[in-house]
Amino acid sequence: MEGLEPRLAKLARNGDRDAFRELVQLYKDRIYHLAYRMLGNAQEAEDVVQDTFLRVYTNLDRYDDTHKFSTWIYRIGTNLCIDRLRKRKSTLSLDAESSEGEGIDGHDMLSSPDPLPEQQLVLSETQQVIRDAIEKLPAKYKSIVILRYLHDMSLQEISDVLNMPITTIKTRVHRGREALRKKLDHQHFF
C-alpha cells in the first residue's frame, strides 16, 4: 500500500493539478513556519513557499518515491532559506562598504532589527528574548534548532533533510542548545 504523498506526487507528475494542490495544502503551513522562523518576516516566508513549490513542481519527475516526500520538500525549503540568509549577509557587507562615512559599519547593520518585523505576532517578553536568540544563531545551527524543536524532527530525519551525517547533526544540536542557553543566561533570563 503506497502512501498518500507519493501517490499525489505521481498524479501531479502526470499533469493532475488538483493532486498538486493537495500537496500544497499539506505542506504550505510547515514550509511557511520554517521560512518565517529562519528569515524572521512574512514577505520572505511567502516567497520561500512559492519558490519551494515551484521547484517541487518542476522536479517532480526527479522525485524518488522510495524516500519520504516530506524529507525532500523540507530539503528544498531549508536550502532556499539558507541561500537567502547567505545573500542577505553579502548584501549587508556590501551596504556596509558603500555607506562608509555615514557612521554605520557592517556590525551595526547586522545587529539591526529586521526590515519587516513580526507585526502579526504578539510576543511576551520571554518569547521576544527567545526569538532574538534564535534570530542571531549562525545559519547552520539555526536550521537545525528550528527543525528539531519547531518541526519535531528526529536527528535522523534532520540528517536526511540536510544530507549530512547524523554525527554532524548531533554536534550542531548540542552547540545550538548551548549557544541559546548562554544567550538567555547573559540576558539574566534564568
Partner: protein
C-alpha cells in the same frame, strides 16, 4: 564522572540517546553537582521555550498564489522535454516547416510570365504566351510560369507549366515528361522533388 563528561551525557539524554546505564551514571552525578543540575535545568527550559513559540498565521491566499505561479500545463513540459531529447528530429521538422512557409509566401507573389530553359532564342514569347513554333527543335527542358505554353514543334526534354496551361498542337513532339502544376501543394511537391534532386549526388 567529571562535569564535562556529564554535559555530554546531558545532551545525549535530551536527544533521547542515553542508555539505562548512562542514565544511572548521570543521575548519580547530578545528585552531587549543583552546577550540572542547574545547566540541565536551563537546557530543559530553553527547549521548552522554543517549542512554545507562537506560529504566525499563514495567509489564506497562499495556496492560490502558489498554484498561479506554476508554469503552464505539464503537457507542454512533456513536449519541451521531448524536443530536448530529440534535437535532430526537431531541427529537421523546423527546417521543413520554415521551407514550406517560405514557399507558401512565395506562392502567388509573382504573376508575371516567367520562362526558364534552353534554346530560349527559338521561342516566340508574347505577354502571356510562350510558343514553340512548328519546325523548331528545343534541346532541353522548358519551364513556364504564369502563362500558356503552346507547343507546335519538338521538345527534347521535359515540360513544366506552373499556373498556366499547356497547349500541345497535333504536330508537337515531346521526348520527356510534361506536367501542369496549378495548385500550391502540387508546386510544393515539385519544389521538394527539385531539392531532393539538388542535394542527392
Amino acid at each position: 564522572m567529571k562535569c564535562n563528561e556529564a554535559i555530554t551525557f546531558i545532551h545525549e539524554y535530551m536527544d533521547g540517546d542515553l542508555d539505562a546505564q548512562g542514565r544511572m551514571d548521570l543521575r548519580q552525578h547530578l545528585v552531587d553537582c549543583a552546577a550540572c543540575r542547574q545547566r540541565m535545568d536551563q537546557y530543559t527550559r530553553t527547549t521548552a521555550l522554543i517549542r512554545s513559540m507562537p506560529r504566525s498565521p499563514v495567509p489564506d491566499y497562499l495556496v492560490d498564489s502558489v498554484m498561479q505561479a506554476l508554469p503552464g500545463t505539464r503537457k507542454r513540459q512533456v513536449w519541451t522535454r521531448w524536443v530536448r531529447q530529440h534535437p535532430a528530429v526537431t531541427a529537421a521538422v523546423l527546417f521543413i516547416a520554415v521551407m514550406l512557409l517560405s514557399l507558401v509566401s512565395m506562392w502567388d507573389s509573382d504573376t508575371r510570365l516567367m520562362v526558364k530553359g534552353d534554346d530560349l532564342d527559338q521561342l516566340i514569347i508574347t505577354k502571356n504566351q510562350v510558343i514553340v513554333p512548328a519546325g523548331h527543335v528545343i534541346n532541353g527542358d522548358l519551364y513556364v510560369e504564369n502563362g500558356e505554353l503552346v507547343v507546335e514543334g519538338q521538345v527534347n526534354g521535359n515540360l513544366v507549366v506552373v499556373d498556366g496551361r499547356l497547349n500541345l498542337a497535333s504536330t508537337a513532339l515531346i521526348s520527356g515528361e510534361h506536367s501542369e502544376i496549378n495548385k500550391a501543394i502540387d508546386w510544393l511537391w515539385f519544389k521538394m522533388g527539385e531539392w531532393v534532386e539538388a542535394v542527392t549526388p
